[in-house]
Amino acid sequence: MYICIYKFLMMIDNVYQTVKTIVNKELSGNLTPTELNKLAKLVQDEIFSSYFEDINLLKVKQSKGYTGLNHANLPQKVRQKIDIFSAVATITDNAGIYTLPADLYFVEDRGIVYGNNVVVDEAQKSELSFLNSSIAAPSTTFPVYERLGNDIKIYPSTIVDPITVRYIRRPVDPKWTYTEVFNKELFNPSAVDYQDFEVHVSEFDNIVLKMLSYAGINLREGEVALYAENKMNQENIKQGK
């Protein structure tokens, strides 16, 4: 029980210890905390961005009847992994422009809403001019927005109410923090800048394998990298990717 909680709450340390155990078992080299933190960010981002492709593939499978309900509902499981990063923010009008949250990764489908749940739909730039002169011209009932970098512009411009944005935020970079005791790094999860992995706990094995793959390259240990790659390929085949 203790091990499980430890693994879930401080996954980064567990990952670090596991990776170190594997790469150091034959004195192949060492992975410093700085290197670990860089690789941890890289791996977490890689896993996080793969969710969107995964859910698409799984939904295609679902539409063909290859997934089931409850525990066999794989698209829902990936959805839950993504939902860890769901966020809601309220943004306000600034001279006709609304600035999106700084940690935004993707805006949810129909995730921009104002007033009493009036959805502000996204308009393609290529159709905006035609849209404005069609019978479906934007109105306060059916408003649209145009994305301009990290800002949005809402049509019609009479809408100046605060906007609610439902979005997927970027994962916060993981950071393994430590204190030096007798020239040795001792894990310190109480540090202010400590940050664990944010991805779902089920990704532990995946993180370790990916870390090993990068660590193997970093330490110029081709066998470690090869082992990790083979292991990941086996996992992918099992999952039908």
Partner: protein, 287 residues
């Protein structure tokens, strides 16, 4: 006026604008329901809402034309020029009548024999005259539509009839007991015969259901709601390359079927109405 659900009926009966609104559903609800209805593997699962709004408004227009039977009636006193502008939201007329002091309607007849052609201005050598932009100058062609009622002596005289009573020489199709009118679509006016000069006219017409209405106020009858969903779906897939032809045809058929059902529900054949109309069939004719 947005359609509301009432928990306190007092709010309904005390607000005239809400009376009868339960018959209708708003286009906003139609669009939201349609979006909600779509699943991941639907042909239109990832459709842009703007396109749904566009087709939703198009179906409102289509259904207003010949299914919904939403006839708008306006009453006005005819001015001495005998011309009125076509109403701002007019698409086509249903009936034009004058109303008597008892409130009974007397339908006017359309007079297609009157000249409403554009009158080009011509010089003395019959050449057309142009303005500085090169457009042909036009003169006034407005003339009174000929009197052609049964009691109109001048019309009968012009028809070669001396008796005030119609006879077999009279072209009955040009005899307008209640007066007549002609619609000039190009100029956007309705011109009346002088027979109805000074009378109160009732114009019954249909609109497209969209004009000068806020999107939140656009609504359709609930009987036509299913037809609206089917139309939106059909139109959304009709231009898609990856949708099989038979699905497009099925969707088209589904729309026309639901449109037929909507039309039948909105204008039902009621036994009592038939009996009322047929009452006169039992009248004895005495010689």
């Amino acid at each position: 006026m947005p359609i509301r659900n009432f928990t306190n009926l007092d709010n309904y009966y005390s607000d005239e604008d809400q009376w009868g609104n339960h018959q209708y559903t708003t286009i906003k609800d139609v669009v939201n329901n349609f979006m909600f209805e779509q699943e991941d593997d639907s042909y239109v699962g990832s459709v842009n809402r703007n396109r749904v709004v566009y087709h939703a408004k198009r179906v409102v227009q289509e259904l207003y034309f010949d299914v919904l039977n939403e006839v708008i009636a306006i009453e006005f006193d005819l001015n001495p020029t005998l011309i009125i502008p076509i109403p701002h939201d007019y698409v086509n007329y249903v009936r034009i009548s004058w109303v008597d002091s008892n409130g009974k309607l007397h339908p006017l007849a359309v007079d297609n024999s009157s000249n409403l052609a554009q009158a080009y201005l011509q010089a003395d050598i019959y050449k057309y005259l142009y303005d500085q932009d090169g457009s042909i100058l036009q003169g006034s062609h407005i003339q009174d539509i000929g009197e052609s009622t049964l009691g109109d002596q001048s019309y009968l005289a012009a028809s070669g009839v001396s008796s005030p009573m119609p006879n077999f020489n009279t072209d009955a199709s040009k005899v307008f007991k209640n007066g007549s009118y002609k619609i000039d679509k190009d100029r956007g006016v309705i011109q009346f015969s002088s027979t109805v000069s000074g009378r109160t006219i009732v114009l019954e017409y249909i609109s497209d259901g969209l004009f000068q209405r806020e999107d939140s106020d656009i609504r359709i009858h609930k009987f036509a709601e299913e037809a609206a969903y089917n139309f939106i779906y059909w139109k959304l897939i009709s231009k898609k390359r990856n949708v099989p032809y038979n699905e497009k045809m099925r969707a088209r058929q589904e729309f026309y079927n639901s449109r037929r059902v909507a039309k039948r529900r909105i204008t039902p054949i009621r036994f009592e109405e038939i009996r009322q109309v047929m009452k006169s069939q039992n009248k004895m004719i005495k010689n």
